[in-house]
Amino acid sequence: MRRALRWLMAVCVVVATSTAAFAADLRPIVQSLGSGGYSGTEKALEQLSEAGDPAAVPVIEALQAGDLQVRKSDNAVVIARKAGDAFALTDPLSGADLGQAAAADLTRIRINNSLRRAISATLGALTLMSPDAGVRRSAADAVFKSRDANALATLETAIAKEQDKGVRAAMEQARAAVLLTGAAAATMPDADVQAAVDTLAARGDRDALVLLNMVAASGASEATKKSAASAIATVEQKLALWGALQNLWYGLSLGSVLLLAAIGLAVTFGVMGVINMAHGEMVMIGAYTTFLVQEFFRAHAPGLFDLSILVALPAAFIVSGGVGIIIERSVIRWLYGRPLETLLATWGLSLALQQAVRSIFGPTNREVGAPSWMSGAFELGGLTITYGRLWIVVFAFAVFAALLAALKRTWFGLSIRAVTQNRPMANAMGIRTARVDALTFGLGSGIAGLAGVALSQIDNVSPNLGQGYILDSFMVVVFGGVGNLWGTLVGALTLGTMNKFLEPYAGAVLGKILVLVFIILFIQRRPRGLFALKGRAVEA
């Protein structure tokens, strides 16, 4: 609605002449959008683009959103928006209310990818004069992408009027792109080509590189070609640098996923000495808890869906932690001091838990949605950073810091350390060791549950979810040094980064093999991991 209003204003501002007159001309074209299948629609769209009338913008936007439909009774093209069980119809050009119709009486004008592309190009050309700087900016970007010659005239006008520096730069880049790829490119005066080269060199991304390469290969003068070539070299250098940074970011991001998966294990395995093969299933339970919480929100409070993840965090911690405590009380507590037997029992538990989830939720993936603040990406210089990954990195470090603080600063943490270091003494001092055991295991499992919330954002939520992470988690903990949280942190980040730097050269499969070989060799050098405890205590 807001958007429509904005467009109404845009139309008033930009188009000085009578809108009605234009609308009359557009009507047959709009009408023809609804006939002739994809190609018919595409042809009509082309005509709208040539007409260059911003009055068509709401129509095209409706087409893009899938709201443009054909009324079966009279074949009229209308905008139909869902209103309760039926559709509310409006006239696409005048916006007049046309009453309601049932779904059965309407046929949606279907669009495919090439239409979608044409739509953004057309919209780009038509919205260059929008009063909203953001819209103009994305219009310029759309033109840059489509290189639509139809837009050139509007582009020139828009550049002349443009006040915003950034938007103008984008428009100029778009113009350069249109000029260089247009039919007239070959006969363009050298000075213009040179200007285009400079504009693109300033843009300095991969898209600019393509155009610069075209100049370098074209029939332009030697001087221009040379400046294009040097621009290419600069851009490529810059891109290589950003590429390395990008890898670093990917490594950090993968590392933080590993950290999340491993950190719970660092507690149950590293601190307590329980080889918890069911750790992955604790992660899985966390992910399924997220799913359930989201289902609840979808059903009862769809408006608050963005908050569902925040609710899922404590829920997953409690559910996974609770399952962990049950496991500890029923199985693990009989097995202290026999870590290899905990391996067998927890392996059995992991099979049973997987099957339990499969029986309850079915074997197929469950959809866990991303809240809007975790979707999409932003550009930071030459880096593309997705919000989802960014939050996971932040979250991983937050969990790590919180765990560290809990172990170092709280009475509970003190008890854990006391019990793990000297059980009889702790017992003698009045610490209820059994309760500390249960809570410690619950803590480790709960953290695994938190990891599950994060992983549900990037991976499948299926009964096999945990299996994919268990081995990696053990590698991280062992590589970092059992019993050392900092080791887990450094281990996760090292392995993640290494993986991501190897991947471009060796491929994903070989990269992973190389990382494993590295771990095997590394353990030979440092048989107790990166942050091994030194001294006599080790050999005891």
Partner: protein, 436 residues
């Protein structure tokens, strides 16, 4: 271990139970129950493949149930025998043997991965039974005892690439797949096909990832990079199973839109999409022989029954389910024609059998044990369904030996007598491959 003594009797009990059960497997009671016709269902219900295969078990149970309501077959009831090969390939062979020699089934519907099919193939040939294989696969095989109701590469991959080339004007190709034989072969075929259409080698990027690959950041970035070379680029994805969800999530997050770089997948159907938020994936493509969104009366009926049978309104249908639907109906028709369930007679009766498919036509069993199918291209919609944007005008016959691979272009399969050969070489006129 203070509980040991108290409860060891409990442990002994459990183990004794196990031992008894185990011994029961060894005793082979020859259950020659003649009042039913047994049908084996060999799909993984646990392990990594359960995610895809469990649905096929359910659909088979539904089909058998319905057939029984219609009065069974040859006057007898059909009896499903379900086993769990647990995504373990040697166990597939063992279970196939168990179904055939112990349970005496008349036909088996099963397998998903190529390796599971390869594992059971010698068993079916040795014990002379029938397998219906419902999944799209790499081709390069034809066995007398196997009926391939899924798509061969020419029924899925090649038409999809044609569509992209013609309708989307794609000039640059990323062939991304999981590193196993189906993607390898499909990509080989596609590479040869694309080159035959004048695509240059530098415009093809091939990338393989391990099973269950979950960190797609770098690969998606590479695809974006490859796609920004000024030519229209598309991704042909043969990525398998679990790896798809993180792949599509990453595509969505990194903003790879279908308008810019469309991804066409051969292993992503309604079932896989059910686990993903499809809003960012609008317009990405899949090529199948069936989509749930196809509007035909037969399909509407099938979907209704499926939802009623599973008592779940959200269960989706997909292409391999339709393949089982076709295969099962073909088998029923062939058994009725042969008047017996004896494999040799049924195998002979199968060729030429034609049954309605769910997309409004008929599918026929060819002499090479593949079937004719229409090829549909669909675009992902926001509701997790596919919108069919292209459909081949006629039915495409399944081609088991690809014309685009040098070693198989001269081969054909024809299981009718007297040729009865799965790898007949038309050049040498001999059965048995290329010969020496």
């Amino acid at each position: 271990m203070r509980t040991t003594k108290l409860t060891s009797s409990l442990g002994i009990g459990a183990l004794a139970g196990l031992a008894m059960g185990a011994l029961a497997t060894l005793a082979t009671p020859a259950q020659a129950a003649d009042d039913t016709i047994k049908v084996g269902i060999l799909h993984s219900l646990s392990g990594t493949m359960a995610i895809s295969e469990t649905t096929l078990k359910d659909v088979m149970l539904m089909l058998i149930d319905e057939q029984n309501k219609k009065g069974g077959l040859l006057g007898k009831k059909l009896e499903p025998v379900v086993v769990d090969p647990a995504s373990n390939w040697p166990l597939f062979a063992e279970k196939a043997r168990e179904l055939i020699s112990k349970d005496k089934v008349s036909a088996v519907f099963g397998c998903w991965t190529s390796v599971s099919r390869k594992s059971v193939l010698p068993v079916f040939e040795e014990l002379n039974n029938i397998l219906f294989y419902p999944v799209q696969y790499e081709g390069e095989e034809s066995s007398r005892n196997v009926f391939y109701t899924g798509a061969a590469p020419n029924q899925q991959a090649v038409p999809a690439v044609d569509y992209l080339m013609q309708k989307e004007k794609v000039q640059r190709w990323v062939l991304a797949g999981t590193d196993y034989v189906y993607p390898r072969t499909t990509n080989k075929i596609l590479e040869a096909y694309l080159k035959s259409k004048g695509v240059k080698a530098e415009d093809i990027m091939i990338n393989y990832t391990p099973f269950g690959h979950s960190d797609w950041q770098s690969i998606v970035a590479d695809i974006k990079k490859f796609g920004s070379a000024g030519k229209k680029t598309a991704v042909v994805s043969t990525i398998n199973g679990d790896a798809n969800v993180p792949f599509y999530k990453e595509l969505g997050n990194q903003g790879v839109k279908a308008e810019d770089i469309p991804v066409v997948a051969f292993s992503v159907g309604e079932e896989e999409l059910a686990g993903i938020d499809t809003k960012p994936l609008l317009g990405h493509l899949a090529a199948w022989n069936y989509f749930q969104s196809v509007e035909t009366p037969a399909n509407a009926e099938f979907i209704k029954e499926w939802k009623a049978y599973t008592k779940n309104d959200k269960r989706v249908t997909n292409d391999p389910m339709e393949a089982h639907y076709i295969g099962f109906n073909m088998w029923v028709k062939a058994v009725e024609a042969a008047g017996t369930t004896e494999p040799d007679k049924v195998i002979d009766a199968m060729v030429g059998v034609s049954v309605p498919n769910l997309t409004g036509g008929y599918s026929a069993m060819l002499p090479n044990h593949h079937i004719t199918k229409p090829v549909l291209i669909g675009e992902v919609q926001e509701n997790g369904q596919f919108d069919v944007v292209s459909k081949t005008p006629g039915l495409v016959p399944g081609d088991e030996w690809s014309d685009y691979l040098p070693d198989s272009k001269d081969l054909i399969a024809d299981w009718r007598k007297p040729m009865s050969c799965g790898n007949f070489n038309v050049k040498t006129g001999k059965c048995g491959g290329k010969g020496s």
